[in-house]
Symmetry: C2
Subunit: 430 residues, 2 copies
Amino acid sequence: MAKVIRVGLLGCGTVGGGVVRILDREARDIAVRVGGQLLVTRVGVRDLAKDRQLPLPADAFTDDLLSVVEADDVDVIVEVMGGRDPAGGLIRRALELGKPVVTANKELVAHEGPELYELAESSGVDLMYEAAVAGAIPIIRPLKQSLAGDRVRRVVGILNGTTNYILTKMTEEGASYDAVLSEAQRLGYAEADPTADVGGHDAASKTAILASLAFDSKVHADDVFREGIENVTATDISVADRLGYVIKLLGIASEVDDQVAVRVHPTFLPKAHPLAAVRESFNAIYVEADAAGELMFYGRGAGALPTGSAVVGDLIDAARNVQQTTRGPVESVHRGRSIRPIQELQTQYYVLLDVDDTAGVLAAVATTFGKNDVSIAQVWQEGQGDRAQLVLITHRALEGALRSCVRDLQGTEGVRNVASVMRVEAEVFS
Amino acid sequence: MAKVIRVGLLGCGTVGGGVVRILDREARDIAVRVGGQLLVTRVGVRDLAKDRQLPLPADAFTDDLLSVVEADDVDVIVEVMGGRDPAGGLIRRALELGKPVVTANKELVAHEGPELYELAESSGVDLMYEAAVAGAIPIIRPLKQSLAGDRVRRVVGILNGTTNYILTKMTEEGASYDAVLSEAQRLGYAEADPTADVGGHDAASKTAILASLAFDSKVHADDVFREGIENVTATDISVADRLGYVIKLLGIASEVDDQVAVRVHPTFLPKAHPLAAVRESFNAIYVEADAAGELMFYGRGAGALPTGSAVVGDLIDAARNVQQTTRGPVESVHRGRSIRPIQELQTQYYVLLDVDDTAGVLAAVATTFGKNDVSIAQVWQEGQGDRAQLVLITHRALEGALRSCVRDLQGTEGVRNVASVMRVEAEVFS
């Protein structure tokens, strides 16, 4: 087969450059797998003046992005520009034209994925987005194909490399959040404005995409309950350590009473859990399914080449399908499960209180917990002089009850401050 | 689409029963994904008299296995009977008839895989075998599709649950190999005749399949250098522990000078490596690729439902392809890399010697190592009275040189016995 499959590239930054380099380096093998040569014919960029040092003809570049999508000599679209606009409109146009799309655009898929899947389905073309979640880690294809006959019950992920790096350093070096963040920024592991990472927004987007796919339902980024790691202290980490836990920023999507519960927050995770061993900027996704049992997928969640590898894997599939005038499996988001309110979450909690070191404080605190129907599993007090800290781990309780308890604690005699509250996933194995 | 895809099942033991149960339980969802109903119309078994308690019509069963393959009312074959014969002939017949095949048959694929891939390719039908390696863990599809545009450099796997269970118990309880094996047999985790597992044969089969796929070459089970765990002692494990290692039975396939090096043996693995945390009967596969970097896939390597989940995932893909009169991607085993002889392996080694506790022994031992061009990285001596043990870790050396050194050590003055020799993969990250 001598056929050429012509690729239109939208965006040519770090990931786009990675894609072009992989396509060039592995051209011969890729042609065998596709059943035809992959040729990048058009590249849409914002800044035509930039010298990109890539093995592409100069006349392939244009700043008219729509012209790339609509060009007669483009069979497949690869979108690596990021952002919802104009990427969303361009992808919709490509799908309407019957051109398959491969995208690495996490933000777009997290916010508009289910609608885009439906458009791709009605247009009868592929929309692939393996690179949008956890870079090079194959997770979309396993969820969509390998587990197609199974029933997924829970997906738990370390989905953001920057926050996992910060928490790893805090854990292993006993350093403060601020000190580690500054160091990470200096080394280029964290952005100057780190909000998207440390605030959990990036992890929430990825969790939404995984939840949609795992539970065949429309889950959008805004449906995800979200807390960042900004308030995690060295004390929290050392308390967790003494109790047999590590603190990880987890994205957790699960099925509860035919609803989808979906949240991102710093979590006490037992040290024996496979996710607890995921260090530095690595990502990992842990999946529980009825028949398959426990699965974990681990690797690099970001970077030009890892993300490029995932894009090219998708592109080979999409191009092969074009060549064979067929298409891959489609997402099923028609189950229409609703999102479970966070108040109905049932889990364990860690509460750290600054208290007066006087008789009667523990009794007052215990009474407040009892009144709110939150049962205490473990408690200890530390400190001398007039300042002490009270560490409490609860049994499983309703999030709503715990929140009411925390409000009441702020007015409890002898409690100076509720220093930390964090969810404890001790039964994440169960 | 109301079309029915008719499935012929070869074998109906544990895994076959798991497949039938999953197909029954998830029938509605599976029909949506396939675009048609999956119906098991024929089941070939050895013993017709057995009551299998499965949701299948009694007249579906036959002991004429070939009739299942050749039946007009069978569109797809699922082979879960195991063994090379008659499964191999039946699968070849199905492929010749243009019927796609899904198999969980590790032994067959490990010995005849490359030839079967070629037959499937020339017949233009799917041959899928995700379930043949590491049960429910999706590893075939990621290697074949997700990493299709990447270049895999190394695959390292914990591929046998029984041996990983035994080594985990020996490590965590300090017990002897014999004691743990007996306990594992009592609990049903090890077979009465444990040779296939503890001798590394099972892991070697899986390693051959992964090596073929990762390096686009014909690698057969017999090409794999193999050592089992039968001689691993409690002393080896405690020495490894003190040096910062765990002992794991690893299947290692790598590309060296355009050859494929492929081996299974107990290995000193640094505790910080993600594979070191894989406990009990879990399996995991660690992959290094040029662009994707490091990846790991973790889960249940065996069992009726995990294996059934992988079979059904493949079956949905194969049935969808039948429905759309297309086929999935094919294996490329045409690169024709040769197998690297084990003598040319370069790695570090652990050597444990029983020696006389007398002056001059260390010098004699060191001289023997030096004469064989094996350089010593670490050494220490333990023991009192006239009996002592000498622990040595070498720098990277040629396997051939190390073997010659071990022969010479057996004749070295003061050396009573070469108690253990094991490969050390200290640079498995590199």
